[in-house]
């Protein structure tokens, strides 16, 4: 037996097994007591987190078939995914009861999706990357439609499924062409083939671009973002929060790994494409967010904009000198974005009504008076999204811009700064509604949501005083380069 494979994938396999058990056990849990399923799911995620951490930093290694890899990069992301999964459980429990869709399947599917993400972080072969992508996406197609009698939810599921299947097709076609050009599907093999064997450049670049396009769909980079607002708006809010944070992180994880481990030698061909993608995504995401009336759509466009900032970190991927900075700023920003995003979505979930109302900006009027803690948390998240100092978002953007400038892409950093300024308009508008407009917002009694929101807000503020600790952690989580 290939024991390295088992060692590397142990937490992932344990989580998958637990999800299967959960699916079975849930059948005998009555509908009024779905809280038990939620607790079991959280216990599974926490156990997998403990297992991941106790494995600690395995020596960076691949298994003998070069299918999976364990390195600091994967470990860091595993922790991020599992923590997002825990937040996904905390966000959902009360919401599902309120919306009268207390299905145990939610938790099992969430666990499957997290397992897919972990597999994605460890995948070292294009075939396995594709499989992980599917394992991560298919549960989410179902989850976005879990609010079934509501038409928006069904629309969201169908759109997500169609576009997701489409993007999977791009990934597969890209993989096929890359295999055609290099005769390899493992990332170090592709890297070696590019350096030694004569590779048909047209076929290879075409394959690489198709792969990029497929992944750009997943992380909703402009111009492949059209599905995002509709899907995010229609899906149940906790699912949206999970998608906006964890799926994006998984997409960038694999994008970073492919670019840095397999494609560093074709940087001069891919960098302009990434540059254009990043610039377009930042501009379109932020400009489109301005006109949104619904907070869910606004945050959807904001997540597109943040995908642009994250793409900016990857633009100098082929420059070996800034390679460690690229990884560190990418991972740092993913953490900052995850904390901010999950917190903001928790607040949105707390204000949503049973019938799907309470998602307009006007519904936030007067929140500062009636629920000062929640409003304060939301303030922190909005400032962190904008990138105002004393929040984690500021440091995240700071390191991103620094990486871009070090890589020699000053114009891109300028676009980043300008679009951040633009974004201040619509983020601060939420604050204006909360504190300067009178109103009587009704907040659902949902202790877990408030705990999540306040804990995330605290983390966003407190870690911003010691950004170096997190940056060093991210910087030491090195990706194994061939």
């Amino acid at each position: 037996m290939n024991s390295d494979l088992l060692t590397i994938l142990l937490p992932t396999l344990a989580l998958t097994g637990w999800a299967l058990l959960l699916l079975l056990v849930d059948l005998w849990i009555p509908r009024e007591h779905k809280g038990i399923t939620a607790v079991l799911a959280a216990a599974g995620l926490a156990a997998a987190l403990g297992l991941t951490l106790s494995q600690g930093r395995l020596p960076a290694m691949t298994d003998s078939t070069v299918m999976v890899i364990s390195d600091g990069y994967a470990l860091f992301l595993d922790v991020l995914f599992l923590a997002s999964g825990l937040a996904g459980v905390a966000l959902a429990h009360e919401y599902l009861k309120r919306a009268n869709i207390a299905n145990g399947e939610y938790y099992a599917l969430l666990l499957f999706s997290v397992a897919g993400m972990m597999l994605m972080a460890h995948a070292y072969n294009l075939i396995l990357i594709f499989l992980a992508l599917e394992l991560l996406s298919i549960p989410l197609y179902i989850l976005s439609g879990i609010n079934r009698p509501r038409l928006e939810s069904e629309e969201s599921a169908l759109k997500y499924f169609l576009l997701g299947a489409f993007s999977s097709g791009f990934v597969l076609y890209g993989t096929a062409l890359i295999y055609g050009a290099t005769a390899r599907t493992d990332l170090p093999g592709i890297f070696a083939a590019l350096q030694s064997a004569p590779v048909n450049p047209v076929i290879f670049i075409l394959g690489a671009v198709l792969l990029l396009v497929g992944l750009a769909y997943k992380v909703s980079a402009v111009p492949f973002h059209m599905w995002t607002p509709d899907v995010y708006e229609g899906a149940p809010t906790p699912v949206t929060g999970f998608m906006a944070v964890a799926v994006k992180a998984a997409g960038f994880a694999v994008l970073g790994r492919i670019l840095m481990a397999a494609f560093p030698t074709v940087g001069k061909d891919l960098t302009p494409i990434l540059w254009a993608l990043a610039a377009l995504t930042m501009l379109v995401g932020n400009l489109a967010a301005i006109t949104q009336k619904s907070i869910k759509r606004m945050l959807a466009y904001s997540s597109i904009a943040h995908a642009g900032y994250l793409l900016m970190a990857l633009v100098p991927f082929s420059n070996r000198l800034v390679n460690s900075d690229v990884q560190a700023s990418l991972l740092f920003y993913l953490v900052a974005y995850a904390l901010t995003g999950l917190g903001a979505w928790a607040v949105v979930t707390a204000l949503e009504k049973q019938n799907g109302d309470g998602l307009k900006l006007e519904d936030y009027a007067g929140l500062g008076k009636s629920h000062p803690w929640l409003a304060l948390a939301m303030t922190v998240f909005m400032l962190s999204f904008t990138g105002i100092p004393l929040t984690l978002g500021f440091w995240g953007k700071f390191y991103l811009f620094r990486t871009a400038i070090e890589g020699g892409f000053t114009l891109l950093a300028v676009i980043g700064v300008v679009t951040s300024l633009i974004s201040a308009y619509y983020y601060l508008r939420v604050l204006m509604y909360m504190y300067m407009r009178a109103g009587s917002p009704s907040v659902e009694r949902a202790p877990w949501l408030q705990v999540t929101a306040v804990a995330a807000a605290l983390a966003v503020v407190l870690i911003s005083f010691i950004p170096n600790v997190l940056l060093n952690l991210a910087g030491n989580s090195l990706l194994l380069l061939p």
Binding site: M1, L20, L23, L24, L27
Partner: protein
């Protein structure tokens, strides 16, 4: 490379030629006495009535999906059975795990009542 497929090309052209030949012979030498009945799309079938597009119970799709699930299981089983000796114990365990996962799905579907027709 491609010349290996030369026999296939020969077979293909013979097949196409024979097909045309048989139809052409029928047209050339066969008697022809058309009636309305003979011209109908399905001469020996039932007389068509109603519209071609009808609503079909969604349960059929459920059954179809379940069928595909277990059909694919067979697709994996056949090549596995052929090379089972080379795979050894590892292959046996792997297949048991695979069937176990399918079994979980089956129990789920059963308990959810998807197999009950009413």
């Amino acid at each position: 490379m491609l010349e290996n497929y030369y026999p296939l090309l020969v077979i293909l052209s013979i097949a196409v030629f024979l097909g045309f030949l048989v139809v052409a012979l029928g047209v050339l030498f066969g008697p022809r006495r058309p009636t309305a009945r003979k011209g109908a799309p399905y001469e020996s079938g039932m007389v068509p009535y109603g519209e071609g597009r009808r609503r079909i119970s969604v349960r059929y799709y459920l059954i179809a999906v379940l069928f595909i699930l277990f059909d694919i299981e067979i697709v994996f089983f056949l090549p596995w059975a052929v090379v089972l000796r080379q795979l050894g114990v590892e292959g046996l365990i792997g297949m048991f795990l695979f069937v176990g996962v399918l079994l979980v799905g089956f129990v789920y579907v059963w308990k959810k009542g998807a197999l009950e027709w009413e």
